[in-house]
Symmetry: C2
Subunit: 290 residues, 2 copies
């Protein structure tokens, strides 16, 4: 089974549980819409890749960790798209959850997705309960307060938004949680995996800023230009396009350097490189190639 | 230390962690406002009381379970008060979280509170990891899909809302989670404790319907008459006031009967009775006494 198949299988199991007999059908549909609308699954692939590199001795726990990371990511997208935040009508080229199901069910779908992440960990954690407290703490660190993705989103509601803590929380934290969770799920010390997550998260944030500044909505699958419109801090605003591209390249290189020595290190470096190539906006790649 | 002191201590520890150095200050303030604005702590008191009745051999885990239940309850109140649901400007006689901090921070405070609940379990769970999977599953069952409080709230967005599953999910599920979690935290089988939670949850829902139909906003601490205004199913609409009062009394009696035989049974029955006396709206009690 490929990593993608393992991830989709774990996500399908979680979504099927949430929509079991007795569930309110519209919320069940909103949850399915939120999880299965073409996400690239970057974070869970990273999580599984780290677990693989660490020996992956409890595959069901690694799959649960990867699925939990993606469910938390989906929750943040559903809530970030709400009218009180980005007011985005589309996401990945399809209607956002609130556009398709209304605000009440979008709020509840996000809530349910957070709960589903921990339910997924609880079920798989029964196979390796001694790893569960650290695995849960890794997730809650990446998603909650004071420095997870919820905190990152909250920085947009502060009178002053410091760029580095904002980006580290809004994007970096879940990448760090993904690499750490992969190691914990495989029974390894997560600390050596922090730097890889941090650098990939930072690279991904710069790529997202570039995409927002340069792409057209068709390519991006969501409304673009919103960072500038909403006056959010952005690497493009700070460094210009050329500077942001240089920073992206340097971050990817440093991420590859940050892969700890282990049996699976070479495979993981290749995977990071393959993923990184997808980060550059097509329009930018065309401009650079022209 | 009293049960109330144990609960407030565990909640304070969770809220302090969420507002640690580096946290976005306005979200930290919104979280504190959401947790400490005069809640009766009915569910965590019930959780601790069951843990006590079961011997409470790991007090820090019971306190974490009780705090987690209350954090999940607070999250649901913050989100239920949002303009897209009840649009309530007050809660417990104070401004609701969105009224005080705006919608974006109210959405994020609710999200953060859910995460804090599981973080609280993760930290205490390190002392008894073998109990953690079941304890987590109990919580996710009570709060998530297909039949927890999120599902209960979602029934209000369905074209048809069946009264019994709606009430069981919206109010009952977290009471059942509270009694089950108390038993699990103390290392006991949770099944014998399900009936107590179910009956107390049902009683509490009837009491809330009566309060909504009969009280004035000052007594209730939140806007009243909203069930009828929002055309939500209600025991008062279904049974009339007299019928609802009779149902409340019968549910409390059956809850007391449902306390399983154990060393702490008598103390728990007394506690349920004391709590139940608080359920009757004052105006109704005055009318009945007149």
């Amino acid at each position: 089974m490929t990593s993608s198949e393992r991830i989709e299988g774990a996500l399908e199991a979680a979504v099927a549980r949430s929509g079991a007999a007795g569930a309110p059908p519209r919320l069940a549909a909103a949850i399915r819409h939120s999880v299965f609308s073409g996400g690239a699954r970057v974070r869970p692939l990273l999580c599984l890749a780290v677990a693989d590199a660490c020996g992956d001795d409890t595959p069901e726990l690694a799959e649960a960790a990867a699925a939990a990371i993606e469910l938390l990511h989906c929750a943040s997208l559903v809530h970030d798209d709400l009218p009180c935040f980005d007011n985005a009508a589309t996401r990945r080229g399809k209607p956002s959850t609130h556009a398709a199901f209304g605000q009440p069910l979008a709020v509840l779908a996000g809530d349910a997705l957070i709960v589903m992440a921990f339910e997924t960990l609880a079920i798989a954690g029964a196979a390796a309960p001694l790893r569960l407290p650290t695995l849960m703490a890794t997730m809650t660190w990446g998603v909650g307060m004071p420095s997870g993705i919820v905190a990152g989103q909250a920085w947009e509601s502060e009178p002053f938004t410091p760029l580095e803590p904002y980006h580290r929380a809004k994007t970096g934290a879940l990448f760090v949680a993904a690499t750490m969770a992969g190691a914990v799920a495989a029974g390894e010390d997560p600390e050596p995996w922090v730097a890889l997550g941090e650098r990939l998260g930072a690279a991904y944030q710069v790529a997202d800023d570039l995409l927002d500044a340069l792409s057209n909505p068709e390519e991006c699958g969501k409304p673009t230009g919103s960072d500038s419109f909403l006056r959010r801090p952005s690497a493009v605003a700070e460094l210009g396009v050329k500077g942001a591209v240089a920073r992206l390249e340097s971050l990817v290189a440093s991420a590859i350097e940050a892969v700890p020595e282990c049996d699976g290190a070479e495979a993981l470096r290749n995977l990071v490189w393959m993923q990184a190539k997808r980060l550059t906006p097509k329009q930018l790649a065309r401009t650079a190639a022209a």
